[in-house]
């Protein structure tokens, strides 16, 4: 498996385990704990763009945005500060080269049966990342938050080599926005999600 630079230590640990099979139980347990920690910290690809807001400051327009009421406390010296979600990029992996209806579905038994066995929803072995939602709070649109988030996403995908391409569905007016960010217009999509009429786009 190809490993990017940030995974170098991971690759070394794995080699070590392979070479010392007799000690594998102990070694594997130690490394699993480390991996668990790393994955929790940096493994996810669904990203949120947050900002720290002083909720006691009535003059801050960010203290009253739609997502402010469910924001979590920032662990800092200022108890009034909360981490408010401004934008998110929500994805799964798919074996299709563009986003299809089955990619948008959620397996009925996902909570009990694990995630990679289903034919719909997230496909662990897929090499395409299907973007389900790139959302920016309406009051903050047009300031570059969406493209900042998508660029961060690109970068992270490169680090973990999670996929070969990113695919998404766009409406007519957003096609140009995604083209500027490096996506190609792949023509009308077969997806009927949300009433259809989507354009397939892929990086």
């Amino acid at each position: 498996m190809a490993m990017g630079a940030p995974s170098a230590s991971l690759s070394i640990s794995l080699d070590f385990v392979i070479e010392t099979k007799t000690y594998s139980t102990i070694v594997a347990n130690v490394h699993c704990t480390q991996f668990e920690y790393r994955f929790t910290k940096c493994g996810g690809l669904c990203l949120g763009l947050f900002t720290s807001v002083d909720m006691n400051n009535p003059s801050s327009p960010l203290a009253s945005v739609e997502t402010a009421s469910s924001a979590h406390h920032v662990y800092s010296g200022a108890p009034a500060r909360k981490s408010v979600l401004l934008a998110h990029c929500v994805v799964t992996k798919t074996t299709n080269p563009t986003v299809m209806d089955e990619d948008m579905e959620v397996p009925k038994d996902w909570k009990t049966s694990g995630t990679s066995s289903s034919s719909v929803g997230h496909r662990e072995e897929g090499r395409t990342i299907a973007v389900h939602s790139l959302a920016v709070l309406p009051s903050l649109q047009g300031q570059g938050l969406g493209s900042t988030l998508l660029k961060a996403f690109y970068q992270r995908m490169g680090y973990v080599q999670a996929a070969d391409r990113i695919a998404l569905l766009a409406h007519g007016e957003l096609v140009k926005f995604y083209e500027k960010l490096g996506f190609e217009n792949k023509g009308p999509s077969k997806a009927t999600f949300g009433g259809g009429n989507w354009v397939d786009m892929a990086s």
Partner: protein
């Protein structure tokens, strides 16, 4: 905000400006907001649902179930493969 003022602001934005000054304005805004990127976790579900509701018309929104499913299943994207190998060796 009075409608004419809102229109003026929109008109302002429509004026042709060179790309550098437009980009600089955007950077100023971003610097003011000081955004940071974090992996979404299950603790962000409430906010993510609200963000979906505020951004998309009903037929295009991700439901609460979807918003719960996506971060859960993507938590171990890509790096899950070496984990499985290690688990295999440990048994």
């Amino acid at each position: 905000m009075p409608r004419d003022l809102a229109a003026m602001m929109r008109g302002d934005q429509d004026e042709p400006k060179d790309k550098i000054s437009r980009d600089m304005e955007k950077q100023d805004h971003l610097a003011e907001i000081k955004p940071y990127v974090q992996t979404l976790t299950t603790s962000d579900i409430d906010s993510a649902v609200k963000l979906e509701d505020a951004t998309f018309p009903p037929e295009e929104r991700a439901t609460r179930e979807k918003v719960s499913y996506y971060p859960s299943c993507c938590m171990m994207l890509s790096l899950a493969a070496p984990t499985r190998d290690l688990v295999a060796y440990s048994t």
